[in-house]
Symmetry: C2
Subunit: 335 residues, 2 copies
């Protein structure tokens, strides 16, 4: 037997389908009498009526659904972004569907081939430019998270003040006395990492005696460990501080140090970025920059709702905060 429709409820309550729609849609003041409304509500409850969303969406021309595009959900940062976005969405009767972007998922040509993709808008995180183009093709409202503001003219953006985070790291390390730095950078070319690199070199530019080398690596513990090990055994004076683009990279860097018999933080300081669960799971706990991932998701969803309402979206950068733990200390005395 088929699902119960508003027509079934109408029959049970002895009214027309339109009356059911009015009552359940909460738009009946002065249109339906209280006793009748009550009868309708009773019948609906009795029959376990649930409106057919496909029909409603078709009628209203909107779906109250947003698409969240993320690189990978298994990265805790993006899982937290989703959580924040979904909370705000739920408060406004919206749903959030995910699209893990880069080949993470099967043969769908683009996000909009997905069956669930009857969308009101899109929130895109750390988008590559080409994927962005595909999205902008469909003229859906778009909010970009943690992405180059210049890429998407006209689109709302929610950005973290990553440059300030990098500055806080360098201030901290410089104050401890470090001068020789190695930047463990993500090989992923995206705004979120490029801005770190720029902030880092600009922060060290005017420091006398400061040296900065860089090594890039895929975003995994093992890759970072190998890349760091290679860099640390290279000829020349050894850096005293490793500045990592991400906690995951920092964990790999720590593993490399351990392999080489270097103690952290006595022989080598290491910093992360993100403040994932990982950061406090390892020993020593990582000095890192805490990123308010849930807030990013919340602000992203809030911005999308604003855009859909034709309101302007708040465009301030979200502040980030250095968290000093046990992976940083003054550099060892000069040999």
């Amino acid at each position: 037997m088929a699902r119960t429709t508003s027509k079934d409820v109408a029959r049970a309550a002895g009214v027309s389908q339109a009356a059911v729609s009015l009552v359940l849609g909460d738009k009946w003041r002065g249109r339906v009498s209280e006793p009748t409304a009550e009868r309708v509500r009773d019948a609906a409850r009795q029959l376990g009526y649930r409106p057919n969303l496909a029909a409603r969406n078709l009628r209203l021309g909107r779906t109250r659904t947003a698409l969240l595009v993320v690189p990978a959900l298994t990265n805790e940062f993006f899982a937290r972004v989703y959580t924040g976005a979904a909370r705000i969405a739920a408060e406004h009767g919206f749903g959030v569907v995910l699209y893990p972007s880069p080949e993470g998922i099967g043969p769908a040509r683009d996000p909009f081939d997905s069956a669930a993709a009857a969308l009101d808008g899109v929130i895109a995180s750390s988008m590559a430019a080409d994927a962005l183009a595909a999205i902008r093709g469909d003229e859906l409202p778009l909010v970009m998270l943690d992405s180059d503001p210049d890429e998407g003219p006209g689109a709302a953006t929610v950005n973290l003040d990553l440059a300030d985070g990098m500055r806080q790291i360098t201030d901290h390390l410089l104050a401890l006395g470090h001068r020789r730095f190695l930047h463990i950078a993500s090989a992923i070319s995206s705004w979120t990492f490029e801005v770190r690199a720029r902030a880092l070199s600009s922060a060290l530019k005017d420091i006398p005696g400061a040296e900065l080398r860089t090594v890039t690596t895929p975003l995994s513990i093992d890759a970072s460990r190998d890349a760091t090990e290679a860099a640390l055994t290279a000829p020349g004076p050894r850096p005293t501080a490793l500045i990592c683009d991400d906690d995951i990279l920092a964990v790999g860097a720590c593993k490399a140090a351990r392999r080489l018999g270097l103690r952290i933080p006595e022989d080598l300081s290491v910093t992360g970025f993100d403040d994932l669960t990982l950061a406090t799971a390892v020993d020593p706990e990582l000095t890192t920059v805490r990123l308010p991932a849930e807030h990013v998701g919340e602000r992203g969803m809030t911005a999308l709702l604003a855009v859909l309402d034709g309101r302007p979206a708040n465009a301030d950068d979200l502040p980030v905060q250095l968290v000093v733990r046990n992976s940083t200390a003054p550099p060892p005395a000069q040999p």
Copy 2:
């Protein structure tokens, strides 16, 4: 200007809307001539036509969308389950929408209030019985992951052979010579943890001299650390091996050990469960049981597709595999 509809395409191609539907629906052999079909396809491409899914869903009475209910996406295990499910779904033109179950999300009364919840079926992971009841009320096809098979009579289930995993752990520890065990158990009361406890006590039942104590704790590093510390400083002979329900708990347990000046694995062996990224991030790397999380998601989605097709679903348990790393060793010599 509104989105282009099949009617627009029809006008551009000089045919009727029905012809467009036939051609694009790939059901036109013998109904439309090849030149006409090509004209329609051209027009569709030209106009960037994308079918309105709300309308299609309404017409067809199905949405090609499944709901995945998980406790928390920030737990890597469930993020991986999602990834697996979404991959299989995409291969079959399905979408997956998430419902983080336990109060994780706003005021939605139940999963089906969610705006995106126009569903063909449900995959529920680690469900509590009451939430399950709410779901079964709607007579949607249901697949249960890692849940008590007795709870959901008639529903398809995808289970891991967790009992075997626990047996592999005890075999390993017993072979190393351990006899005094402390079980760091999750305070969450669900099948997935209950089955571990049962398997553990039954495995130790017939071992002469084996002792088993248990302490329960919330599923977080800090909570586990505190609970473990308390248990290890309790009077009586100290256990030589900690068997943890989850890698997260194991990491907390390691922290407690470190606080108490105990070395792992020399003074104390520790085992985890899941084989998350965490397990190889910490030092020493954890001996743990690898759970094929992606496979769980894949099998869950495959089972749901089978149920929707009226085919029987594969009900075999998924095998799990002990991974021996550096957190286990023979117990210290008796004092």
